[in-house]
Symmetry: C2
């Protein structure tokens, strides 16, 4: 609960200082991770459950969500390999392993991965799921397509 | 919202690491400030409202409340004088004033003070209000009385 409250403290500050002023100035705001990640890691991985995360998001962040979320989700095996690589890199750099998430076991990552897929299915209007093990060029192409489609939809609606 | 989320992060950690283990070991746990203070300062002082604070308390702290709360509330004038004194002491010691609450204006303190009274009236079973400008001996006597009454009630109920 402490970890999750700290995540939301960080998010509330980012909304107030960066995201809202940006949106109010008419800019497009890019965000690396948002409440979907909290739902996946704390809600799924740590088994706190989605309801509690979404209740906190509504109370602390006013329920603010992106217009478009690009969820880059490789296969579970590839995701796990990357998490382990981050872990090894951290140990090599610092001589110790303090990664809160990196040290978790495989079943933790399985739950995170599964929760991300659940969010994508539930929030299909907002979340574009870019899945599978693709090359950088293929991922780039899918992102350009998804962003272009959303920007066009936005300008039509004005 | 950031400030409040940090308060709850701190509280969740204190509950998990100190309060719950203490209670489970059958000890009496003394706590200097708890969610009443968040309700008074953020809910009242910062005008976020009691409902939001209490919702967060239920979600993050499982609604845990003390068996007995001693609320030492001198007159508003005396309370204000003490806050200002803390402020001056901090400036004298550090050469600057970084007190988040101490630098607030009188109407902020008026709202905090009023919210504390509101909590005491609403939670009259739990909160013993020790109010007015008394000597240390008089305050001590009232605390002993309130604690003794509660401990006796506890042992009767067993």
């Amino acid at each position: 609960m402490t970890e999750m409250a700290l995540m939301f403290a960080d998010r509330a500050q980012a909304i107030d200082e960066v995201i809202k002023p940006g949106l109010e100035a008419g800019r497009i705001v890019l965000c690396d991770r948002f409440t979907d990640s909290t739902e996946a890691y704390q809600g799924g991985g740590r088994q706190i459950g989605s309801d509690l995360v979404l209740d906190l998001h509504r109370l602390i962040c006013g329920g603010l969500q992106p217009d478009l979320t690009l969820l880059l989700l490789p296969s579970f095996e590839a995701s796990l390999k990357r998490a382990r690589r981050r872990n090894d890199r951290m140990e090599a750099q610092t001589g110790k392993n303090e990664g809160r998430f990196e040290k978790e076991q495989d079943d933790f990552y399985q739950r995170v991965w599964q929760k991300y897929r659940e969010i994508a299915a539930r929030e299909s209007d907002r979340v574009v799921l870019i899945e599978g093990d693709m090359t950088i060029d293929e991922v780039h192409e899918q992102i350009v397509e998804a962003v272009a489609a959303r920007l066009m939809a936005k300008s039509w609606s004005k």
